[in-house]
């Protein structure tokens, strides 16, 4: 695979991942802006309103028909938190022309035009979004936010994050808040949209078997031409959390208790985070990990038990689903594992195994289009320019001492338990 990055205009970057491995082309537009209480709900709503209709394809039905005509091009959008930023993501995936019955249709070009049209050329009337769309999407957004409780596992994790990052950008819910919706209308939402498009960091990704022509298609696109240079308003620094939040127990109608523990890692720089990745893999990141082995395989307290490292926030979340009466038992077992890590009670072999599993997953980024895009966006956001080879080399360097050092900096910040 060949990766090229170009700054098209100040604040707008084009990333091309050229590869002939796939039958599809994947195009993505990421709009990155700082997470703020005052804009988080409107930003989330914008992405919902945009997919309702563009200036060219004014209804969802027209958009859907167009996508179907493009041999089932799939359009998707999502909202993510990346560090202290809110990222509006739009994707379109199409079949490469060489796998189509009639190869004279330039599907890629049409797909690129469609996604730019949806994101940058919305359906506008009198300097406002279409009123009906905004009102409907406000209702839908309300349901979506309230729908948080439907997946108890993810809900527990989100609640732990909120507690741990109380009053901090990262503590904000990525879809926003129901109470904000009543003050949003088609006019002020459009105003917010114009502001967002003028100020946000824009990254455009194209992954697939593409030639130089694709760059021209994008540069020459009318909607891209309209975009102005900008000093992007994303957060390049991520706010550290310093206050310990302690224990938080909440009740809900659940069959199984969901335990989430938020850990501050306290890395001193970006480079140290590679050591943390190894630490997390040994602690709870795989089937061989201390938490999986001790909580599940030895004590048989859980089916799901593990941990995840949020690199941008330098935070680890441990989670498991347990019998409610086993709360203390599970918590103590997990604390024991944290202590054992500090005391270096793990083998060189475990360090080597952790490296193997991380390296193996990094190697597959060339084999999965969306993983490739996520990787290069991650590099972009963390200010790293590590190639896959450099990344692997850095992981190889980690030794047991490094991991013990990480272990001794790790502190429990928040213990969250959802029970009945």
């Amino acid at each position: 695979m060949n990766y090229i990055k170009k700054e098209m205009k100040k604040g707008i970057k084009l990333h091309i991942l050229n590869t002939d491995k796939f039958k599809t082309n994947l195009i993505a537009i990421f709009l990155t802006t700082k997470l703020e209480r005052k804009t988080v709900s409107a930003n989330a709503l914008i992405s919902a309103v945009l997919r309702r209709g563009s200036n060219t394809l004014k209804t969802q039905e027209e958009i859907s028909k167009q996508l179907e005509e493009l041999y089932g091009a799939s359009f998707d959008c999502g909202i993510d938190k990346t560090g202290d930023n809110q990222v509006l993501k739009f994707y379109i995936e199409t079949v490469n022309d060489s796998f189509l019955p009639q190869s004279n249709e330039n599907i890629l070009k049409m797909a690129i035009e469609t996604i730019f049209d949806i994101v940058f050329n919305p359906f506008i009337e009198n300097h406002a979004f279409h009123k009906e769309y905004v009102e409907q999407e406000k209702n839908n957004m309300k349901q979506r936010i309230e729908g948080r409780i439907d997946n108890k596992r993810i809900y527990a994790l989100d609640r732990c994050i909120e507690e741990m990052y109380k009053d901090k950008p990262f503590g904000l819910y990525r879809f926003g808040y129901v109470e904000d919706l009543k003050d949003i209308n088609e006019m002020n939402l459009y105003e917010r949209y114009t502001q967002l498009i003028e100020q946000c960091k824009i990254d455009i990704f194209v992954s697939g078997n593409v030639n130089e022509e694709v760059e021209n298609i994008i540069i020459e696109n009318e909607n891209v031409k309209k975009l102005k240079e900008r000093q992007p308003n994303d957060n390049t620094e991520s706010e550290k959390n310093t206050i310990k939040q302690g224990e938080k127990i909440e009740k809900m109608d659940v069959a199984q208790g969901k335990l989430v523990i938020g850990l501050d890692v306290n890395s001193k720089n970006e480079d140290e985070k590679y050591n943390v990745m190894i630490y997390n893999t040994i602690l709870g990141g795989s089937a061989n990990s201390k938490i999986f082995q001790n909580v599940r395989e030895k004590a048989n307290l859980a089916y799901e038990a593990g941990s995840r490292y949020f690199r941008y926030k330098d935070t680890i979340f441990v989670n498991c689903g347990i019998e409610i009466s086993n709360y203390e038992k599970a918590l103590n077992l997990i604390k024991e594992q944290l202590e054992d890590m500090k005391a270096g009670k793990f083998t060189e072999e475990e360090v080597e195994n952790a490296k193997k599993s991380i390296i193996s997953s990094i190697k597959t980024i060339d084999d999965e289009q969306d993983t490739g895009i996520t990787y290069y966006f991650g590099q972009e956001m963390s200010g790293n320019q590590k190639s896959v080879e450099d990344y692997i080399e850095r992981i190889e360097k980690v030794n047991k001492e490094d991991v013990i050092q990480v272990a001794n900096k790790v502190e429990i910040n928040t213990i969250y338990f959802l029970r009945n």
Binding site: T59, E61, G72, N139, Q293, N300, I359, T364
Partner: protein, 424 residues
Amino acid sequence: MQVIENSKVKETLYLEKLENGLTVMIIPKRGMKKKYMIWGTNYGSNENVFIVPGENIKTEVPNGIAHFLEHKLFEQENGTNSLDTLTALGVEANAFTTNDMTAYLFSCTDNFYPAMDELMNYVQNPYFTDENVEKEKGIIGQEIMMYDDYPDWKVYLNAMQILYHNHPIKIDVVGTIDSINQIDKEVLYKCYNTFYNLSNMAIVICGDFEPENILEEVKKRLKESKANGEIQTFYPEEPDTIVKEKIEEKMEVSQPMYTIAIKVKPTDNPEEMVKRDIAIQILLELLIGKSSSLYKQLYNEGIISRGIGANYEFSENYAHVIISGQSNDPQQVYNKIKEEIKRQQQEGFCEKDFNRIKKKIYGEYVKDYDDVENISNMFLANYFLGINSFDYLNQIDNMNVEYLTQVLNDVFKEEKMVISIVKN
């Protein structure tokens, strides 16, 4: 080896049925770093009554045993656990059980052969003890409780309860706390010896491989085994009718969830399975897909806020259409879908829409061939039904309005429809 090429997706399947009965399928993917291997047995949670080869009486086993067996197969006589061994090799290993099959798999970039050693060793060498069976009950018990907290799973299972009178598709794949408590090592061995015979199994390997070489590598690792002939399994008599039309359950959810299901008469003809599957996919798009008029209406009226999920699930002995989602008024969604079916049955559908949807489905089939994991899982599940996955790419050309109309009338029958709702 049988060599089957497909010019549309430009892929080739190499298939070999070994003397011991095992089927090996290889789909080479040049230039891919990721490699994938999956070993499945044509045995899932539905096979609960059978005759152990060599015996002449029926054996009935506790619900959830196929899944329990899947968990236990990782345990080794020397005290190690194969999942740990595989993870230590830096490969991603896993296993899963469905109503119809059980499969063991791994994906990796390096260490393919050592991982293959381990996978092929543990699947061929069960080691069950009273102690290790007992301990698993705690873990699976928590897995069952985890699913208890998933309203989307509950609403689906409830639909199966009212769609089927007796068929084991009604039963949760993982079983219940009670049923798994009845499991012991003897009954696990019985199931293993019956269903893990090589003649009941298939391996799929996908990645940058030379087919002949990789086939030899598989053969080298196989224990001596004789095909144990056809396995006799028994299913209870299942009437064509539904049990009742509606079921509701209370759970803490933000908005009611629904699963609408339509009972379909199963076919055991693989060609017909594929044709019907494609036709139903096209019909579901025409009825409630994102470009349909019903979808537009429901969305604009605020009755639905997200897409409606729809698919067709089938084997030789069960078949049903599933339509699911969230809505404040599931009953109205149900009524409108019924009306729309009736309208399309009377008025027919527009040929232009049909052609557009056909393009969409074709594109989706092509997309299935990018990921080694997806390709392998698809070929394996289809193989157990007697289907070669390439057939989908070939059969879609044969779809026409007459056939679709016939399926619309045969499958989408009002008296075969049920709705399950979960709400506060």
